[in-house]
């Protein structure tokens, strides 16, 4: 039986009607209608579905949507105003951190979480923080460079 709930996503309260065991990812994509967070592996291996929950990075494919009620969800769509890019997103473009783009939302969320808790991470810290986000295109070099370019240089926004 479906239950009614409210999810706060990127500062907007969305009424949803979901299965109690529904994942946060499917609820965001299918009910809220934001498709930036991606389904890669659907079991917490790849990080393509990563969003922030109260500022902390979570693999939304393996998190129950009802547990996110009353908390603040931030998806890739919430990192910058519509039609704009923040500094981190811009750096991904400039440093070749984007190829097919499928991992990019999760990468940006993961890097945002890192930069929130550590203003000037080392390259090793960046690589460790992004280890839960798999990319099959870039070889990671451009992504790591982009994060380092923003780190210690005023932050992501």
């Amino acid at each position: 039986m479906k239950v009614a709930a409210t999810l706060n996503v990127n500062g907007i309260a969305y009424p949803v009607e979901i299965d109690p065991h529904a994942s946060l990812l499917h609820t965001i994509r299918d009910q809220v209608g934001l498709t930036g967070a991606k389904e890669g592996c659907d079991d917490s291996e790849c990080g393509a579905c990563m969003v922030l929950l109260d500022g902390q990075p979570v693999n939304s494919c393996s998190y129950l949507a009802l547990q996110a009620e009353g908390r603040e969800v931030t998806t890739i769509e919430g990192l910058a105003p519509p039609g704009e890019l923040n500094r981190l997103q811009q750096a991904f473009l400039e440093h070749g951190g984007v190829q097919c783009g499928f991992c990019t939302p999760g990468m940006l969320i993961s890097a945002t979480a890192l930069l929130q808790r550590s203003e000037a991470p080392t390259e090793d810290e960046v690589r460790i923080a992004l280890a839960g986000n798999l990319c099959r295109c870039t070889g990671y070099e451009g992504i790591v460079k982009a994060v380092l370019a923003v780190a210690g240089n005023g932050g992501p926004s």
């Binding site: 109690p20 065991h21 529904a22 917490s44 998190y63 129950l64 009802l66 690589r127 923080a129 280890a131």
Partner: protein, 301 residues
């Protein structure tokens, strides 16, 4: 998919739901991920315990034991000054669980109750003589960690019991500890082999030693022979060699997708020796970074 999920607002509320047949979910990093991977379907009836603020605290009892609430996350434990200084092996373990998202949502209570023989926190908690407090509608009982862990994925807790907190007694001065795992990659890894060592050194002599093995037997367990090999020695290379031999002899590993039993047995000696070396170094006041595993795998992150 069907089923139900109730979000508990008090511990009493949660244990009542458990008594009625519900199963607890906190960060979901084992339960929900396991269901996604097809290990076991999600329990039909779930009680979410993530809002129970009283289980989110780390506090000190009169400067004696540290009490870790069941919902304290790996990230919080790895960063906690008292955990890093006194229970360094636990900080080593918590700092390498999963990825930063696993550590942000995975809890100490969930890690223990999932009862994987490869869990990171079990060895340190066992060597620190920790006790878990289990609550049900009929009351609270205390269980030592070795009484809790019954086998792969199995505990002696009844299905209606909620792990409320973990009590870790004060570690005496002069104690150093470490948890080291053999890993193929530095994040999103499950221990191939793991070892914990807690060593107290007074006037150059080992006066207390605890050694536990991880992913080397059906449950995480202490190795008395390795502890005996260290006791009364100077913690030098001779003692380390015989402790490492004892660890390898105690290992009863399985072969699985990550390693063969033979490889695990061979590596048990190596990883066990590293854990003891780091613990002795820390007992001597050497500054060895957390997590200790990173020291052996190419960096500290």
């Amino acid at each position: 998919m069907s089923g139900s999920l109730l979000v508990a607002s008090t511990v009493d509320d949660a244990v009542e739901k458990l008594a009625a047949g519900a199963r607890a979910v906190a960060g979901g990093t084992d339960l929900v991920v396991g269901a996604r991977q097809g290990k076991a379907p999600l329990p039909e009836s779930l009680v979410a315990i993530h809002r129970l603020e009283e289980l989110r605290r780390v506090h000190e009892d009169d400067g004696e034991s540290l009490r870790l609430g069941a919902l304290v996350t790996h990230a919080e434990l790895a960063a906690h000054p008292l955990v890093r200084s006194r229970l360094t092996a636990l900080a080593d373990a918590c700092a390498i669980v999963g990825s930063h998202s696993t550590r942000a949502f995975g809890t100490i209570g969930g890690n223990l109750m999932n009862a994987s023989p490869a869990m990171e926190t079990g060895g340190p908690l066992l060597c620190f003589d920790s006790t878990v407090m289990l609550r049900s509608v009929s009351g609270i009982r205390a269980l030592a960690i070795d009484e809790l862990l019954a086998g792969p994925g199995q505990t002696t807790a009844a299905p209606d019991e909620l792990l409320e907190e973990v009590k870790v007694p004060r570690v005496p001065e002069g104690t150093g500890s470490s948890y080291v795992r053999l890993e193929y990659r530095r994040q999103m890894e499950i221990a191939v082999v793991g070892a914990t060592a807690v060593v107290r050194i007074e006037a150059g002599q080992v006066t207390d030693a605890r050694v536990a093995i991880t992913a080397l037997s059906p449950t995480i367990r202490r190795v008395g022979e390795a502890e005996a090999a260290l006791l009364g020695t100077d913690g030098g290379s001779e003692a380390l060699r015989s402790a490492a031999r004892a660890i390898a002899a105690a290992a009863r590993p399985i072969s699985d997708v990550r390693a063969s039993a033979d490889y695990r047995s061979a590596m048990a000696a190596v990883i066990g020796r590293r854990a003891i070396e780091v613990a002795c170094g820390r007992a001597d006041g050497e500054q060895i970074p957390v997590p200790a595993s990173a020291v052996f795998s190419g960096g500290v992150g």
